[in-house]
């Protein structure tokens, strides 16, 4: 069975946030509700200070805390390794948001950062949050996967674009956006990434590009000490850009 995973090459990533925007458009997210965000962090002090960045989608962990704590099994892991939220079963207790070490979960009824409140500009009927002018076709929306226009008062997060990935031909090893046949099945952030810093494929297949990259370029995972075992790997190059993998002088007081 395929176990989907992502590799992000930090040496290629320019921090342009095209992935963030693509995700917003693909999944009709509200402004500020960025399933995929880019974190900027600084280290050192003038004149040797350095600014770095790191894209952060949901890590779709092998051993996810969010799945363990969800009282109703609304958050679950698919056979192909993707962590999803069943919007029809979520009771909005938000325990998963407390339990996620990566801070990648969102509650829909958040204060809007831009005015006017876009939910009032495009109001929805029923219990949906809003009715945006741009949205994926109805047949692709699936509340059981947490895909589509979100109901009110439930939790949401990155789905690895499961509405695309789950339709990939069986036996696909790598979802390469450069292959026109595979592009429709590839996550939006991977397709959009201008410097091609993102790779998506089967982590369990030794011949997959993601597996090879992790092996040959020292793929590392965020907060591995929590035991969550993310399925998003980062390639940090010769001088590891993920700070937890090296010793640095703290620039922060608390």
């Amino acid at each position: 069975m395929t176990r989907w995973g992502m590799v992000i090459d930090l040496e290629k990533c320019t921090g342009c946030q095209a992935c963030t925007t693509a995700c917003q458009m693909e999944n009709a997210r509200l402004p500020g509700e960025m399933w995929q965000d880019v974190l900027f962090y600084s280290e050192g002090e003038y004149p040797s200070g350095k600014l770095s960045w790191l894209p952060r989608p949901c890590m779709h962990c092998e051993n996810p805390s969010c799945v363990a704590v969800c009282p109703t099994r609304a958050t679950y892991k698919t056979e192909d390794g993707v962590v999803l939220i069943d919007w029809e079963r979520c009771i909005g207790c938000k325990y998963c948001m407390i339990a996620c070490p990566y801070g990648v979960r969102f509650y829909a009824e958040e204060k809007q950062k831009t005015q006017p409140d876009i939910r009032k500009v495009f109001p929805a009927k029923g219990d949906k949050v809003w009715d945006p002018p741009y949205k994926m076709p109805e047949h692709m929306q699936n509340p059981k996967w947490g895909v589509g226009i979100q109901p009110k008062n439930v939790v949401s997060k990155c789905t690895f674009c499961y509405h695309r990935v789950s339709q990939a031909p069986k036996g696909t090893v790598d979802l390469n956006p450069d292959d026109p046949k595979l592009r429709p099945y590839t996550p939006a952030c991977v397709v959009t990434c201008a410097p091609s810093a993102r790779y998506f494929g089967d982590l369990d297949n030794p011949s997959s590009e993601v597996r090879q990259l992790i092996a040959t370029k020292r793929g590392t995972r965020l907060l591995d000490q929590t035991g969550n075992r993310p399925q998003v790997y980062y390639l940090a190059g010769e001088a590891p850009a993920i700070p937890e993998t090296r010793s640095v002088r703290s620039g922060r007081k608390a």
Binding site: S65, V69, P101, G103, E109, E110, K111
Partner: protein, 395 residues
């Protein structure tokens, strides 16, 4: 010891009805606030995607933890064989059920989708301590109800044959229940403020203190409604010592929690925030939790002669300290940023690396107070309907 006779508030006076009226209004305002939050969402609260559990959770956890401890009098009588506490056993059962009902009402109404409660009651994930707590809370109500029946039924209540074993079960169950509530936080590795097994015994100690403290003003109010005090002088000093022991135990486990955290350098950041640099959170910890909720009532309880007024004052201080304690644990633990990159300054559109702002809104306060009022309403109605109160003060 004379045969125990129990009674109810048979002729409620004007004060009783006025009190009940105020509580009913507060409970209704809480219900309305929950409705508004349900319709509008986080927008009308102080909660954000960073601080997802707000003031309602503080009240809910406070009431649930106090509920477990409110059964102290009954446990001391049945489990530890102290017959002097038997006159208060029935009322302690009523208080325990009522406080739990109030806490659960707040918890459920604070859910994003309270309309899906049936999902929570039918689809369990046994890896989740939340799911376990559903069983623990429902089981607690059932066991305490059975305990009350065993004590109050004309036939069953004649001996300890039923009330003693059920009392033991209730005693053990409430220890597990409070462990479960503490473990909601203690088992989380994602937040530096939590992730500590000592939170479970800390919550148990808090429950003993808060439950005892909650019972004292209720006993005083019931005595007032009956026109005679329910705590005679000798019992006054025993309740006073009891509360002092539980407050001291809570202070001890609080110190243990923070000292354990300080031992691990990974937790120095959160400890510096909570104990030194957290602004309002730090003040709430030292002034509210430690001062008003711990040191001052302890001094009052240990250094002064027992009077109902002093005992009441100390109990109310402990309750205020308990609210401060859960605010520090729940809100303080969330406003402090998750550490993705230790030692780095982090910025993002998600406010990573920053202390998240949180100011509770009126709606949150109304829901929390509404839950407490609902609990007191249940106690008031229960005490008037059934004989929960002792006719003669103990001994």
């Amino acid at each position: 010891m004379a045969r125990l006779v129990f009674r109810r508030i048979e002729q409620p006076g004007r004060e009783y009805w006025a009190g009940l009226g105020v509580l009913a209004v507060l409970a209704m305002v809480g219900l309305w606030a929950a409705h508004v939050m349900e319709l509008e969402g986080h927008v009308v609260t102080g909660m954000t995607n960073r601080v997802v559990w707000g003031l309602p959770h503080v009240f809910a956890v406070f009431l649930i933890v106090a509920a477990s401890g409110a059964l102290n009098a009954a446990s001391i009588a049945s489990v530890f064989g102290q017959a002097d506490y038997k006159p208060y056993a029935r009322l302690s059962g009523l208080i325990a059920i009522a406080l739990l009902a109030g806490g659960l009402a707040v918890l459920v109404l604070d859910l994003g989708r309270p309309d899906r409660l049936i999902v929570a009651m039918t689809r369990y994930n046994f890896a989740s301590i939340f799911a376990w707590n559903i069983f623990l809370y429902v089981g607690f109500v059932a066991i305490v109800a059975a305990y009350l029946v065993a004590m109050m039924d004309r036939e069953l209540g004649r001996s300890d044959r039923w009330s003693k074993p059920i009392g033991w079960l209730a005693f053990l169950w409430r220890l597990v229940l409070t462990t479960g509530t503490g473990s909601i936080f203690g088992w989380l590795v994602a937040r530096e403020a939590y992730d500590a097994a000592v939170l479970a015994p800390l919550f148990i100690a808090s429950s003993l203190a808060l439950g005892t403290a909650a019972s004292i003003p209720i006993l005083a109010a019931c005595g007032r409604a009956l026109g005679e005090p329910l705590l005679a002088d000798d019992m006054l000093s025993r309740w006073q010592r009891l509360l002092a022991i539980f407050v001291a135990a809570t202070l001890y486990f609080t110190a243990l929690h923070h000292l354990t955290n300080l031992y691990a350098s990974a937790h120095h950041g959160i400890e510096r925030f909570l104990l030194l640099e957290g602004g309002g959170i730090t003040q709430l910890f030292w002034i509210g939790q430690v001062g008003i909720g711990g040191v001052l009532p302890l001094a009052l309880l240990l250094l002064s002669a027992p009077t109902m007024a002093r005992l009441n004052l100390a109990a109310i201080m402990v309750l205020v300290g308990g609210l401060a304690q859960f605010y520090v644990v729940i809100i303080g633990g969330q406003v402090y940023p998750q550490t993705l990159f230790p030692g780095m300054e982090i910025t993002s559109s998600f406010h990573d690396g920053e202390i998240a702002p949180y100011r509770a809104s009126f709606y949150e306060l109304a829901l929390g107070l509404g839950g407490a009022a609902f609990a007191l309403l249940l106690i008031g109605i229960g005490a008037a309907l059934l004989p929960f109160l002792p006719r003669h003060p103990a001994r």
